[in-house]
Amino acid sequence: MSLLQIKELGLEISGRPILKKVSLQIEKGKVLGLVGESGSGKSMTALSVMKLLPEGSDLSGQISFDGTDLTNLDETSMCHLRGDDIGMVFQEPMTALNPLKTIGEQIAEGIRLHRGATTSEAMHLAADILEQVGLPSDQHMLSRYPHELSGGQRQRVVIAIACALKPKLLIADEPTTALDVTIQAQILDLLRTLVTENDMALLLISHDLGVVADMADTLTILRDGKVMESGDAVDVLTNRRHPYTEQLAEASSHVPERSAPPVLASEAQMAGIAPLLSVDKIVCDYPGKRLGIFRKSSPFRAVDSVSFDIFPGQTMALVGESGCGKSTLGRCLLGLHRQSAGELHFDGVSLSDDNNEQQTDARKHMQIVFQDPYGSFNPRHRVARLVAEPLFRSPHLSAVEKDERICQALESVGLDRSDRFKYIHEFSGGQRQRLAIARALVSRPKLIIADEPVSALDVSLRAQILDLLSELRDKLQIAYLFISHDLTVVQAICDEVLVMRSGKFVEHGPVEKIFLDPQEDYTRELLAAAPNLEKYLHERTAQTSDKRD
């Protein structure tokens, strides 16, 4: 019998149906991948198993865990199960830990509670578990606070807490979404080891088919609270019988079509084309922390003397892990952050000097698209006013001309003219990102700096936005600086890649060369860590056929 068996699980929250007859099962020592886009009900399925649902929830169906029916279990018995037999790992490791307690206390807490162990015994056990999750188990580590750890270390601690009592089932809700790719690979490795060593079952919730293809034995795909397809992971993802599976798989490895060949620096230089943006040894510092009234620590160098060119119509990718300085560099180019040294030329105009008219005119042709489609608009203004913002630098336009520009921009991103009278909350995430692009387009820019423009979107929306960006590039000859940590996206849309680490460029070259023949260790590491659906499927099919032979 399966360890966890969910039969026809239904969930309504204040009368709104969230889950509709969801059935799934997990065997001991196996990994079930639960995949779906945002709002599909995958987190709610996990919370139903834990019985940690919000108020006003109405649960129907059957959840049986290790022979007991959880649906009728009271809160006290659930408390015994939670943390002891079922552990849970959340997406955001910072908010999942109590900032006021040392990690030792937090791991020991569950052990004391469930096992009745004394504080010193619990601390000993906590040290063992830290070792198991790959953290140094000395006293020093146990007495540290969450803010003293890196994101990856924090997630290890969260996993340690969840696995402290060797649960039979571990539920991991997007455990690596907030982490860098290299850290993600490490955490996934850790989870895999824990599953085999402890013969534990893992319910892995993810939106990333790549991660699931790498990890899961079986797979369940959810959409709008309904199970679309379930079965053996490799089988489901290779054969793609259900149209939605096909759609998801296609979207997550989507490559937009392009009419023009990629613009490469070497070719452009040979043809004598002047670069659109030329960056020469630029340095960005953050002021140091204040130590006293008159004392400051030395400034933090976020971008350390980097140089590159972007040619008209070229899509340049800037990749690196969080904190490597890629966003700071983008902001510096836009004049949002003052550069400490170096030269910036855009469209033949120097942007490094003090303000002058030429510069204002040039800056008009450089725009930005942000990552968060929710935070990048003032909720109090109508779309027309939001989109028209960059036209501030074109005061000669009449009201009618401005309105026409707004309409054109909206239409070019696939929205309707009449949308300009709406407020931002009337739009979905994907539509908001289209609006963000419309806002960037309205001043007819030559360069758009896109800072993680698709990272916050579901895969199918991501594919649409990438198509849109690519289409606009072909039609309007716009150059992009595409800041991203997602190498699949970069490979799909970019011409050249800059790999950045600790404020410096590690490697620079055409996409194909970097992806097929990386020269630097760091680039190789990044590429190896990036989840790739096709690669994993290929590997795993090869493994199974090997076993058969």
């Binding site: 968060d372 935070g375 990048s376 003032n378 939001l386 630098r393």
Partner: protein, 292 residues
């Protein structure tokens, strides 16, 4: 990811949403009703009071509440109800102008400091701390003692102590918005800091300012009563709640109504304004809502 949840709360705004939530908040409805009542009484006192508050009828002095004088009369034979009505408009005027001074100077200073950062911010905020470090009422006593007692100086004194409250609040709120992406987008569009503050920052922090304004308003009424009580506020024969309490003090044992009614007036008004402020905070800023 903090973005979506934050803006989801901001999304539901505008008059219909405001009215819908306002009517659901009991403390706002009660508080607003009391505040409106006090305001209406204050306005009414311009046109009509049961008796003339400046007319002394010594024969009628120290009467207990009766059908002629609902709240009784004082030691000069003046009608207490009429005095409370006129006193209401005094209190409201003082508190209103004092909050106006605080907002009018504090908000521009605070938003300017947030936009400017650096030494200007430091200097301004340390100066703020300095004013904060003084007990407000004591310093108000000092100001009115130097410049002479009177309602005008009381207003100035209370107003000055509202400045740092609004400066600090608006700076803190504005700082949070300066890192938001829609502000960055406006900066990329080439807009200056003043324009961004007016177009984007102020509308977004207005909720907080309105809530704080209501609370400062009630504190202003208390401060005015306090100053009048020690004789530094409104001067006779202008009636004022604080001075009425002061005058009643010596007669507490045989004419308690002289203290009870102005005291109740102060308590009810301040309570009403605080309830309205609390209610407004729940309505306008769901992030601050406390779990009940």
């Amino acid at each position: 990811m903090s973005g979506p949840s934050q803006s989801a709360e901001l999304d539901d705004w505008g008059w219909p949403a405001f009215a819908r939530r306002a009517l659901r908040s009991r403390s706002f409805v009660i508080g607003a009703a009391i505040a409106l009542l006090v305001l209406a009484i204050g306005i009414l006192s311009f046109f009509w009071t049961p008796y003339d508050v400046t007319r002394l009828v010594v024969a009628d002095r120290l009467q207990s509440p009766s059908s002629q004088h609902w709240f009784g009369t004082d030691h000069f034979g003046r009608d207490i109800l009429s005095m409370i009505m006129v006193g209401a408009r005094n209190s409201i005027a003082v508190a209103l102008v004092a909050v106006g001074i605080g907002m009018g100077i504090g908000v521009p200073l605070g938003t300017w400091a947030a936009a400017k950062r650096g030494w200007a911010d430091d200097v301004l905020m340390r100066f703020n701390d300095l004013i904060f470090a003084f007990p407000a009422l004591l310093s108000a006593v000092m100001i009115t003692a130097i410049f002479g007692p009177g309602i005008f100086n009381a207003i100035i004194a209370i107003g000055i102590f509202n400045i740092p409250v609004f400066a600090r609040l608006s700076r803190g709120a504005a700082l949070g918005f300066w890192t938001r992406e829609f502000i960055l987008a406006a900066r990329v569009a080439g807009k200056g800091k003043t324009r961004i503050t007016i177009e984007h920052i102020l509308p977004n922090i207005s909720n907080l300012l309105i809530v704080q304004g209501t609370i400062q308003f009630s504190l202003g009424i208390l401060a005015e009563a306090g100053l009048s009580y020690v004789g530094l506020g409104a001067q006779p024969p202008q009636p004022s709640w604080g001075r009425m309490l002061n005058e009643a003090q010596t007669m507490m044992s045989f004419a308690p109504h002289m203290a009870i009614f102005p005291g109740l007036a102060i308590i009810i008004t301040v309570l009403g304004l605080n309830m309205m402020g609390d209610g407004l905070r729940d309505i306008l800023d769901p992030r601050l809502k406390r779990e009940n």
